[in-house]
Structure formats: C-alpha cells, structure tokens
Subunit: 245 residues, 2 copies
C-alpha cells in the first residue's frame, strides 16, 4: 500500500463542485471513477478542500492510497487518459504515509479573474466574470490592504456557514490589471465559505465607485455579512495553488 499526492487542474463549469455528492457529477467523483477503472480498487481521494460548483482549479491537491503496481512515472499519463479534457492531472508523486492533503495545508492561493474589456474576451468567458464599466484598480488595491493580516472574517463569510472560529490570516491580497483582465490574488492560511468571492464582490463595488476603500475597515469590524458586498460569480474564481510544509 502506498500513498500518492496529485496536483490537478479543472474547468469547474460543468461540475457540481469538487466534493462527491449523491446524483451529481463532481470532480472528485469523476477522478474516483477513473481510479476504479485503472486499479479495480475502490478508492476514495482526499482533497485539500472543496470548491463550489462552477469554481475552477489550477493547482488543487489530493491524495489517495493504492496497492496498484503502476510505476510512479506512468501515473499521470494513465490517469489523464481516463479523465475528460476538463480535468488535467499535473503531477503525481509519492507521499509519506502520514501526509494528508487537507490537514497538512499551510497556505492556499485563490485568484479571481474579472474581464474588464468593453466586450468579453471569448476564450475567457468560462473563467472570468465580465464587467464592462472600467473598474478603478488603485481604489480596489487600497481597500484590499485592510484585509491583510489576522482578522475575524465574519463579514466576508456566507451566513450559511457552521464554522465557529472565523479568524483567518490573509498573507497577501493583490489587485492587478493585465490588459483587459483584473486579477485579485488572495493567499491565506485558510478560507471560510464564499470568503474569496465575497471579498471579490466587495472589491468590485469599490472599483465601481459605489464604496469608499476605507469602508473596508468598518465592514471588517462589524462582523456582519450584511455589511459586505455581493458574492462574486463562481466562474471567475480559481483555486490557484496549495502549499504544504
């Protein structure tokens, strides 16, 4: 028996999120079905965390255990061969038997992509949310500074969550323009339910001039979801990378 660690990219558009759910097509379910065909074993994979329906990944991580004799260097090819084009295994490596894709996470990075062109860029239509009115990136960057550090992120968390401890640390929150695209890059030690999408949605309202950047201090202190802005659309969000020790 050995444990393998995999990095996977996926286009989340046509999946009901990462995590297995009854009667739904999910990324995890699709990967587990491929593993079953390859190994004839019933394998449950453990992801670094779930992603919502429509959210993408460039570097989601999962691990699984297998008795299979497939050589390590063949795994990536064999797996990709059994997966649809919308799921791509980027790497497969041996992991320590104690390694856990969820419990051992140290940092995660998400990126939110806004297409700010006057008309949407076709090849980004599944991976970016389109705002045709020009957004003020400098104001967004100014607002973003208030969130860096250790804070109670209750205001930036779906009211539907059951997690008690809402203190998280954001190490980096950058807003940058790259041609017509605006990227919100957010790295932290963990994220609450819908946290990055609510941060993105509230930053967009600052970019539109509907909110003052300094409003972010008040929103954070209020610990009230109602004070923050809308939850930005799932399709603009990509789990970019997961970092371990």
């Amino acid at each position: 028996m050995k444990r393998l660690k995999c990095v996977v990219a996926y286009d989340g558009t046509d999946y009901s999120g990462f995590q297995v759910q009854p009667e739904q097509v999910t990324v995890q379910g699709t990967i587990e079905a491929a593993l079953q065909r390859i190994t004839s074993e019933t394998i449950q994979i453990a992801g670094s965390g779930r992603t919502d329906a429509g959210v993408h990944a460039q570097g989601q991580v999962f691990h699984f255990d297998t008795h299979s004799a497939i050589p390590l260097e063949k795994w990536r090819f064999v797996l990709n061969n059994q997966l649809p084009d919308s799921i791509v295994i980027l790497s497969v490596e041996d992991a320590h038997p104690d390694f856990h894709a969820r419990f051992d996470v140290v940092r995660k990075q998400y990126r939110y992509c806004i297409d700010n062109g006057s008309v949407p860029e076709l090849f980004r239509h599944r991976y970016a949310d389109h705002y045709r009115h020009p957004l003020d990136v400098e104001c967004m960057q100014e607002a973003a500074r208030y969130l860096v550090g250790e804070h109670d992120f209750t205001s930036f968390c779906s009211a539907k969550t059951f997690v008690e401890d809402k203190v998280r640390t954001i190490y980096e929150l950058k807003v940058m323009r790259e041609g017509d695209l605006i990227w919100i890059i957010c790295e932290g030690n963990g994220f609450l339910y819908n946290m990055v999408r609510i941060i993105a949605g509230t930053l967009i309202e600052v970019g539109e001039g509907k909110r003052d950047p300094h409003d972010f201090a008040r929103i954070l202190a209020a610990r009230d979801r109602e004070q923050a802005g809308k939850t930005a659309a799932a399709k603009g969000l990509t789990m970019w990378k997961v970092l371990y020790e």
Copy 2:
C-alpha cells in the same frame, strides 16, 4: 428597412456548427432566436460562411435586414443581453443595402492552435488541440511555404465536398510558437471543406517527424486527399477574421 453588419465571436464547443440545421443547436439559430425576441421580426442572418461543429470564431461576420428603430449604438448591448456567454457580438455597424457578408468576402483568416505542453493548459482545453510530444516548428514552417500562392487544393479538401473548382489562393501560412502554444495562421481568398484542418493535420505530421517538409510539393501535385495527413480536431480551429473591400 436597413442592413446591419455584425462581427461575432463564439465558443463553438457546444454548437452543431454555425449554420442552421433542423433539430440542432447552432450559432446562427441562437442569434436568429435572439433577434426575434428583440425585434418581433422573423430575421434570417447571412454569415460569411459556415463553420463546422466545434469550430470557434473570433471574427465571424454576418448581416441582416430589419425595420427595428433600435439606435445603432445600442444594438451590440441589446444583442449580447439576449445571447448566451458563448456568443459575443463584437460590433454592429450600418451596411450598404448591397453589402453581402458571404459574396463580398475578399480574404479570410483562420488560426489553428496546438497546445504543445507536456500537460494541457487548462484554460485552453476547449480551444487548442493537445500534442504532448514536442513538434518541430521550423520543419512545419518549411512545409507551409509550399502551400502559399494559387494552387489546386484537392489534396487538402474533404473527399465529401461537391465544389468543382478547387483552386484557391493562400496569401499567408505561418507556423509560430508562443510559449507552449503553436499557432498555424492561414489567410486566403477562400477555403474548401476541412481545408485548414487537413493542412493543420498534415503539418502536425511534419512536426512529429513522420513526414518530410518537401513532401508537401508532392501532396499538392497529387490532387488526392489520400496523400495528405489526418484532419486535425475541430476544437483547435478558430475563424479569426473576415476581410471585405
């Protein structure tokens, strides 16, 4: 009554091609349904040419006639509002009543995209065909030179075609690498059925080392579809632009 000329981009993945077909979801049918909702008129649009199922466009052109009083500058927004994200109207302008999107074409440019990375780039998976073995772009470029100019392209045309005159002029055929992507850029006065995909498929065989670049002279002279290579996958092909006088 006035005639409008539109430039449209679309992600062809989920459409049965551009042209209306009974019982199928097509780009043309989707645009005509949107026009009907907007104007309450029954409008038939005329495209610059059809594209096959799965083929994309960055700059397809069509025209239509309408009695609608919608101001010209509102049209793009109104149309995009009624269209799915996979179809984007880039511009709408007044056209001369004699303008015809198909008959007045002077040049067309197609681009074929190959993802030549060791693993596919996720955000390109719908718009590029993936070859993980490195292709020799210089050899492909050398082969491409044989096709520039006026030639009988019978060898690079689907045997299923009914067109009699297979002489076309290619003004430009470039093969260029951009990071892991290889672009085949092909501009000509007209294209036969599957012509760009057969050219791309045959160039790929040169890039793989399975064919000599100079083989292209023989293939062209043979006027026999069997002498050329495979038809490359539809998803890598994009109708890039259509030029008028």
